[in-house]
Amino acid sequence: MNEQDFIAQADRFLSGRMDSAERIAFERYCEENPPAAEQLATHRLFLQQLRQHADRAAFKRTLASAAERYHHPVIPATSVRREPILVTLWNRFKVNSLVAASVAIVAVFSTLWLSGYYKTIEKTTTNYSALRRDMNTVKKNVNAQNAVIRNINSEKQKGGQSEGHFGATGFIISPNGYVVTNYHVIKDADSVHLQNTKGESFRADVIYIDPTHDLAMLHISDSTFKTLKNTPYTFKEADSELGEDVYTIGFPRDEVVYGQGYLSSRTGYAGDTTAYQLSIPVNPGNSGGPVMDSRGQVIGIISGKQTGIDGASFAIKTEALLKSISAIPMDSLESRLTINRKNSLSGLKRTDQIKKIQDYVYLVKVY
C-alpha cells in the first residue's frame, strides 16, 4: 500500500465512512505495520489541529461580527430621517451664509455711518428746540463795538464783558411784579434782568421753577419798579379750539415783535397734552411770550418749536400755568399774587390790544 492510498484509507477510517469489514482490515493492517500506525496517529493529530484551527477561525469571525453589532448597532434604514432639501442646503452652506451675512451687516452699517445717516437721526430725534436766544452773536457785535469805544474812551474797557448769555420773553401775571417765563430760559442763570419796551431794566429773582412744565416765576425785586395797573388780559383756563386765531408778542430781537398764527393742534411736542401746537412764526427769543386769542385772553406761553417742520411751534397751556401758580408756596411770595379776572381787551382792535399788552411784556436777559 503506497502512502497516498494509505492516507486516503486513513481519511475514510477517521471520518467513519468505512464499513465494519474495511475497518477491521485497516485496523489489522495498522497493528501489523507499526510505521503505519504511527503515520495514522500523526495524521489524526494533524487533522485535529486543522479542524481546531478552522473552528476557531469561524468562531473568531462570529465573535468579531457580534462585537461589531454590539459596538455599532445597525440602524434600520427606515428609521434614518431624510432631511428636507432646505435643511441639507442650509447645513452645507451654513458657514458661507454666515460669513456673507456678517459682511453684509458690516457693509450696511459702515455705509450708513459714512453717509452721515446717524447724524441725521440724531438731529431728527432732538428736533425740539427751545426758543431762548443765544446772545453770543450779539456779544460778538458788542465786543466789536466796545473795541471801537475803547479807542475813543479807554475808561469803559470792561463794558459789555458781562453781557447776557440768553434772551427771552416774559410777561406780567400779577401787577405787583410777578412775571412768568420758561424754565429753560433761567436755568443756570446767575442773575435775571427784565427790560420793558420803554428800555427800563429791572432786576428780578426767580421765586419758583416748574421744570416739568418748563415754567418759571420771577419777581421784580428792583426798588425802581412801580406797581402797574391790572393786566389788561385775563387767563383762559379752558382748552381753546383748533383753528383759533392767536398772536404773540416777544423779543426775538431787542425790539418787541408781533407774530400771528392759529392753533393747529391740541397737543404739543410728542403728544404732550399740557401744550398746544401753533402755527405761528417764532424765533429764538420768543420763549416765554404770551399766546393771546382774539379776545385778549392768554391761552398759553410760547416754549419751543420743532426743527425741520414748518409752522410747528409749541405753547404751554394756561391751565398748566395756573396749576403751577397755585403750587407756589405762600411763604416764597413777598406780596399777594393776584390774577386779573376782568378783561379790558375783548372789544379792541388788534393794534390797540397790542399797544396795551406790550407794557406788560418784558425782555428777559439772563446772565
Binding site: 497516498q4 492516507i7 486516503a8 481519511d11 471520518s15 494533524f46 487533522l47 489541529q49 486543522l50 479542524r51 481546531q52 484551527h53 478552522a54 473552528d55 476557531r56 477561525a57 469561524a58 468562531f59 473568531k60 462570529t62 465573535l63 468579531a64 461580527s65 457580534a66 462585537a67 453589532r69 454590539y70 459596538h71
Partner: protein
Amino acid sequence: MSKLNRSVVPDADLKTVEGIALGNAAVLESLYHDYFPIVLNMVIQNNGTEEEAKDIFQEAVIVLYDKIRQGNFELSSKLKTYLYSVCRRLWLKQLGNQERAFQDVSSYEEVIPVEDDLAKHRETELQLSLMEQALDKLGEPCRTIIHDFYILNLSMQEICEKFGYTSADNAKNQKYKCLQRLKRLFFSTT
C-alpha cells in the same frame, strides 16, 4: 461536556457556555451586552482606551472558548467573574509589556486566578498561528480543497465538480499533493 458547579453557577451561564461552544452569534452578542461595560470601565479607569478594551474583551472570550473546547471545562464561578478576571489579567500584562504607567487595576469586582488558562491559551494560540502560517503559504486552490474535504466533509466527487477536475482521481491526486505540502510546511516550522 462540562462538569459544572451548580450551586454557584446560574443556569443562564450554562446556556451561555453551550452557546459559546457552538459559536452562536446571538449568545456572543448578549455576552457583549452583559459583560463588556464592566471590562470597558476597568480598562478606561486604568489608563486604557475603548479600542484596547474591545481587543482585551475579544481575547478573553477566545480564552473562554478555548477552555470550553478543550472539553474539561469546569466553571467554578460566575461567568462574569471568570471573564472579568481574564480581562484584568490580560490588561495588566499588556500594561506591563508596554511599560505604561502601571496603575492600580485592583477593583471591587471579585477576581479568581486564571493563570493556567491563560498559559494554555497562549500555547493554543501559538500552535494555531503555525497552522495559519502553513495554510497561508499553501495558497489557493490547495487551501480551499483541504478546507472543503476535511472541514466541510465534501466528497471527492463534489470537489472534482467544484474545481473542474476531469475526474475524481485527478482531484484525489491534487488533494493528496496539497495535504503533503501542508504537512511539510507545518512540520518544518515546528
